[in-house]
Subunit: 145 residues, 2 copies
DNA sequence: TAAAAATTTGATAATAATTATTATTTAATA
DNA sequence: TATTAAATAATAATTATTATCAAATTTTTA
């Protein structure tokens, strides 16, 4: 659970960065960002939409799609698609890894300092330039056990 | 590049396992398996279909979909869905990780003994039961540089 | 080997997720 | 507040994937 003040700071930074990048700070964008920054659940587009609609009945699903696309392009959120169907989003940009449930598809964040110290594999022969890496730990969440 | 004899052995084993599991060994299934086992490119369903059609003009795209679904269910292939659009398939079931190109979406296999020895993160508090893990090294392939 | 039973295929329809279109509305700026 | 560029909402279109089902093929049984 993020503290309320921390969340407000995050939203504040988001608004400033939008202006810096020439993006209008609209009610819709604020609503999407706030809901996403307030949860750890890596919601799908539709889940986010359902979270927002009660507070914001005129919100359109297509706007949530486009907003998240914009956010991803500008580096406000990350998008992931583990084995399940739908894309999932995360406003947590600190480098971290994921626990992915094979049963229900839910995602939990996992931080592990040791992982940041692994040696990158040798890619001299294929000449692939590695920029970063993410680990998906796959298994069964507590709910599904 | 797989050697031809190694590939033949793999197809041989595949046929035997199909029979053991009560799956008919059809021309279509052999064609899909052979093409997939012969490439390292992690093709999409449509790419596989296009590879197969010249040799096998009556092949249906729906059959490729269904065949791959069957193969995955029976553990003959693995399916992966990077951030891009389409699912990609791999007949290489040795535990390995992936180099994923951020530009074109291509996937290369990467083996790294050191990775198999990492300590799993502590999940006592969330009670998530980790079964395995996969690392996506993200960056830019040689083609796209 | 031939007939019967079971499975698979191919053609196509249906569905689900996502993206494109466009008239209207809103936000930023002067 | 008026101007202008950008964003939204409603909805159509597209794309990837799955479902349906009669016909064909494969496997089993006699
Ligand atoms: Mn996360
Ligand atoms: Mn692979
Ligand atoms: Zn679960
Ligand atoms: Zn590339």
């Amino acid at each position: 659970m993020e503290s309320q003040t921390h969340l407000n700071q995050k939203v504040q930074r988001f608004s400033e960065e939008c202006r810096q990048k020439g993006l209008s700070v609209t009610h819709q964008r604020l609503a999407v960002y706030k809901k996403l920054a307030a949860t750890k659940s890596h919601p799908t587009v539709e889940e986010l939409y359902d979270l927002i609609v009660p507070d914001f009945p005129m919100m359109s699903l297509a706007t949530v799609y486009k907003t998240l696309e914009t956010f991803e392009k500008h580096g406000f959120v990350s998008k992931t698609r583990p084995t399940g169907e739908k894309a999932r989003f995360d406003a947590n940009l600190n480098p971290h890894h994921h626990l992915v449930c094979k049963v229900c598809g839910c995602i939990e964040d996992v931080y592990d300092e040791a992982l940041s110290r692994i040696n990158l594999p040798d890619t001299k022969t294929s000449n692939f330039r590695i920029e970063d890496f993410r680990v998906d730990f796959r298994g069964v969440c507590s709910e599904c056990q």
